[in-house]
Amino acid sequence: MFELFGISSQALFGQLLIGLINGSFYALLSLGLAVIFGMLNIINFTHGAQYMLGAFTAYFLLQYAGLGYWWAIVLAPIAVGITGIIIERLFLQWLYKLDHLYGLLLTFGLALILEGTFRNFFGSSGLPYSVPPALQGGQNLGFMFLPNYRAWVVVFSLAVCLTTWFVIERTKLGSYLRAATENPTLVRAFGINVPRMITLTYGFGVALAALAGVMAAPVYNVSPQMGANLIIVVFAVVVIGGMGSIMGAILTGFGLGLIEGLTKVFFPEASNTVIFIIMAIVLLIRPAGLFGRGA
């Protein structure tokens, strides 16, 4: 096969595939953030902690209820989504009238509380969670060994992302949501229960984060800090994509995953910072973000 800058095409495709896998997590998480921001105008800093909660719920379900991965995929997002609804009712609803920054500060505080509490009870070494038996092993694709589980991650995330996009952009429910974002008072006048929609939207966004957490559990360490550093990268992804569109968030997530994968091949030391550098460049050229509408 061909060689590109000294890296064989085999290695290249292998790395691109891995980049796509990472991109799936970025896409899922930035999608959740975009949905929440679109509806509530709040940056959900707690997103990282809720991602962590999803992973831990999967762990608990396995440890204490003997329920495996397939149960966790369904139950964990629901459970964590419910906690999200509680958070919204208890804390967030008081902040809508205030400056947006208070929402950011509150969710930041909640993230600290969640992470701190889990750290106290579970230490920081992390907990084991294995790949479900049905997805173990892998395919030898010739240019790399692709673990089945990772392939599943890409496929399933794409499915979830596209379904979410479809619901929001192409269904009646989605149109209510989009209308309520633009003009809540008017939509209320039409008899639609806007506060309930807001609450459920937040719950849904949180559930997306938890779903990403469950999917991450077998591959990344299930630890209280797993969300903390990831969330900042996701913020950068969101800034690059622009908060305007759902499809934008999905495309940016996958795209940046690919770019990060490429960086790991050619310039590994920079792979932590490449997304931030891209963010800086995008800000210079197109401040609204690649898919954003207005500042």
Binding site: I18, I21, S124, S125, P128, F145, V219, G261, T273
Partner: protein
């Protein structure tokens, strides 16, 4: 009669007073500082405080008329927090000796402060071999392990047992580089070959692309020059990519039994690492572990905990012999003069550069089927004798060593 009685009491009191040792503030205060809430809290944490307490009890301090207090603090793996705590401890709380301190950056900072204030620093948790090298101090003893011993132990022993081609996965920061450099040197010196290396950002989460490169290199051994969560993640993901099944072995250059516990045997099996102490090596260790574990949430003692026990025991012996804890340099000099002997490490010695000498052990993690009980994780692959385990005295560059 009453008068005689009170006179007698007075005489006895005076007599006791004369025989009494002069401890600063009337007591010996031991400060155990480590990570109590973060990534190293299981391998040190409250367990080290417990180990110190067990050492004081086993030494029988109370019976010997020594009042010993133990205080603990969390340095959160940050040099500034650690420095603050130690400064306050010494200036305000009159602490006499600082013990444990994992995380080399904190240990190095504490090393300077303790030297300035002439107290004693007994390092169990940290790895930096500089503590007995360029940064050595007459107030510091480096007890349990260091990067040189790990590099030498793991590197040399693995090459000798057939692992002669290496690929390094290194955390891209000073500690990772140092670990890689030291181990690579040892591998090449013993006839092995380094076929490739890749540096991953620190801290990292996804190592799949780097592991792919390691796999492609076909090296027999993949050396993990990283620590903590990075090591755990690399190992987990390596298992996912079938690296061990494919015939390559992972060598964790800095790992502890608590990491293996976090990974689970299914994932960690086959892993090779060097440690200074293991609870299941002999009866004396097992007995200690049996007493220790229930008091530390079931966590079996790590080499760091054992090091704390051993260091505190030896410190108390030295202080008792000197009858004083005021002059840090004098106490450390005494600790170097007296050979060490405790139920966990057996007989040993503290060198002029502050390095405690004892054998190191090369372990391989058991397969799940081979483990009979929780925490039964290791099988012994090799023992590195004490005189070979640590960097030779002359090579450290320590100013205390008269060449």
């Amino acid at each position: 009669m009453k008068r005689l009685f009170s006179l007698t009491v007075a005489a006895i009191a005076l007599g006791c007073g004369c025989a009494q040792a002069q401890y600063t503030d009337g007591s010996i205060k031991i400060g155990v500082m480590n990570d109590m809430s973060g990534t190293y809290s299981d391998l040190s944490g409250q367990g080290s405080v417990l180990a110190a307490r067990m050492a004081v009890e086993d030494f029988g301090a109370a019976a010997r008329g020594m009042k010993v207090e133990i205080v603990g603090a969390d340095h959160q793996n940050k040099p500034d927090v650690g420095s603050n705590v130690v400064r306050t401890w010494i200036d305000v709380d009159k602490v006499d000796v600082i013990v444990d301190v994992p995380t080399s950056s904190v240990a190095l900072a504490v090393n300077e402060i303790v030297r300035d204030k002439n107290k004693v620093f007994l390092v169990s948790g940290a790895a930096a071999s500089d503590l007995t090298g360029a940064k050595c101090s007459p107030n510091t003893i480096h007890w349990t392990y260091d990067t040189w011993a790990l590099a030498n132990g793991t590197g040399k022993a693995i090459v000798k047992t057939g692992g002669d081609t290496w690929f390094f996965l290194t955390a891209d920061y000073a500690f990772g580089h140092a670990l890689e450099r030291d181990t690579a040197a040892v591998v090449e010196k013993n006839g092995g070959k380094v076929v490739g290396r890749v540096r991953h950002p620190f801290p990292g989460t996804d190592f799949s692309s780097f592991l792919l490169q390691a796999q492609a290199s076909k090296a027999k051994i993949i050396g993990l020059a990283n620590a903590g969560a990075d090591t755990i993640n690399s190992i987990k993901q390596a298992s996912e990519f079938g690296i061990t099944q494919g015939g390559q072995n992972l060598a964790a250059l800095l790992a502890f039994i608590t990491d293996v516990h976090a990974l689970g045997l299914q994932t960690a099996q086959g892993l090779i690492m060097t440690e200074a102490w293991y609870w299941d090596l002999n009866d004396s260790n097992r007995e200690f572990a049996k007493k220790f574990a229930p008091q530390d949430k079931g966590i079996h003692p790590t080499m760091v905990h054992a090091g704390v026990y051993s260091a505190v025991t030896h410190y108390l012996k030295a202080v008792e012999a000197l009858k004083s804890d005021a002059d840090g340099k004098a106490v450390v000099a005494k600790m170097k003069e007296m050979p060490t002997d405790d139920k966990l490490f057996g007989k040993g010695v503290v060198r002029a550069d502050g390095r405690k000498i004892h054998p190191m052990y090369l372990f391989e993690v058991k397969k799940p089927a081979e483990s009979k009980a929780p925490w039964d994780y290791y099988k012994l692959r090799a023992t590195i004798p004490a005189d070979e385990a640590f960097r030779p005295l002359a090579e450290g560059g320590c100013p205390l060593v008269k060449s």
